[in-house]
Assembly symmetry: C2
Homo-oligomer: 183 residues x 2
């Protein structure tokens, strides 16, 4: 077991609210209206999805591992809950809501978990047995995965403006063909 | 011509220094030692590449468009200049250097360019004629593209820790197979 795994993972998780504020608050709308792929999510959908995770997933699953182990599977993650729930809520407001939820959840985590708990097991409804360490690592990588989606959406907003340079910009090429390699 | 294109593009470009500070300054080394792909770049290599762009590319090319139009091609971008130049420089220091260069360049840009200049043309050594609008859009998308690389490297640092959840984490699957689709 790596020393300080919980602390290191929490360090990254604690940066995401400020990061989304720096990236998105007050950004001109011309940047924020494009999904990462044709059938994908706009930045506001991504932030909404992260809000759902804070409300129903990561800390709830941590508590279930600690209280019930593998005797009762996790509830399923509602991956599209934000589409109806957040309709009409401004992006800046979603970013603020996310930050409040994340900060409260990390405070709860500090009281719930030490590195001695990391090998405790829970039951994922599709994946089977997982450890608390895997849950916390996934929480952090899930942030990184979805923030990358925001970047792809922002880039897509300028797709028509880069001209011939598009051939060098993998972030644009991959929106249309995931296996594209930039020149 | 979109109203305020230069201002909107500069808005995004001006966020990158703070964003890199929030994401990288003081981050535990366990997070920052992994490249985005097997033959790719670690976060420090990406920041170094962004430094090269500030030193030799974006504003130099802007000046050449304004002063010489298409009569003399741009100098080529040294895509690997950072590997030798930045050896041994701490990541935190690279992030600070980048921020200073970016701020100075955006101040220079404000004095050099208005939206009335955006259709002016220059000559790219491989791509041929390009406009100043295309150069500025590419500057911004280039930031987004490379910051996504940082995210992939950070995620890669936890690749071994997420267990069966990896099947759901496209940012990890794509490090090995660019066309992978998360479950």
């Amino acid at each position: 077991m790596t020393t300080g795994f919980t602390e290191q993972t929490t360090d990254l998780l604690s940066r995401t609210p400020a990061l989304l504020r720096v990236l998105l608050i007050g950004l001109p709308e011309a940047w924020t209206d494009t999904p990462d792929t044709a059938a994908g999510w706009r930045p506001r959908d991504v932030v909404g999805h992260l809000i759902t995770g804070e409300q129903t997933d990561w800390v709830a699953r941590t508590r279930r591992i600690l209280a019930e182990g593998t005797s009762r599977p996790f509830d399923r993650f509602e991956r599209f809950a934000m589409l109806e729930r957040d309709a009409g809520v401004p992006l800046d407001e979603l970013v603020k809501r996310f930050g409040q939820l994340r900060e409260a959840n990390l405070a709860a985590l500090r009281d719930l978990v030490t590195d001695a708990d990391l090998d405790k097991r829970g039951l994922h409804p599709s994946l089977g047995e997982v450890t608390l360490r895997e849950l916390l690592a996934t929480w952090a990588v899930h942030d990184l995965d979805h923030i990358s989606q925001i970047y792809a959406g922002l880039a897509g907003s300028l797709d028509a403006d880069v001209g011939p340079w598009k051939a060098y910009l993998g972030i644009l090429l991959r929106r249309e063909d995931p296996s594209a390699v930039a020149g």
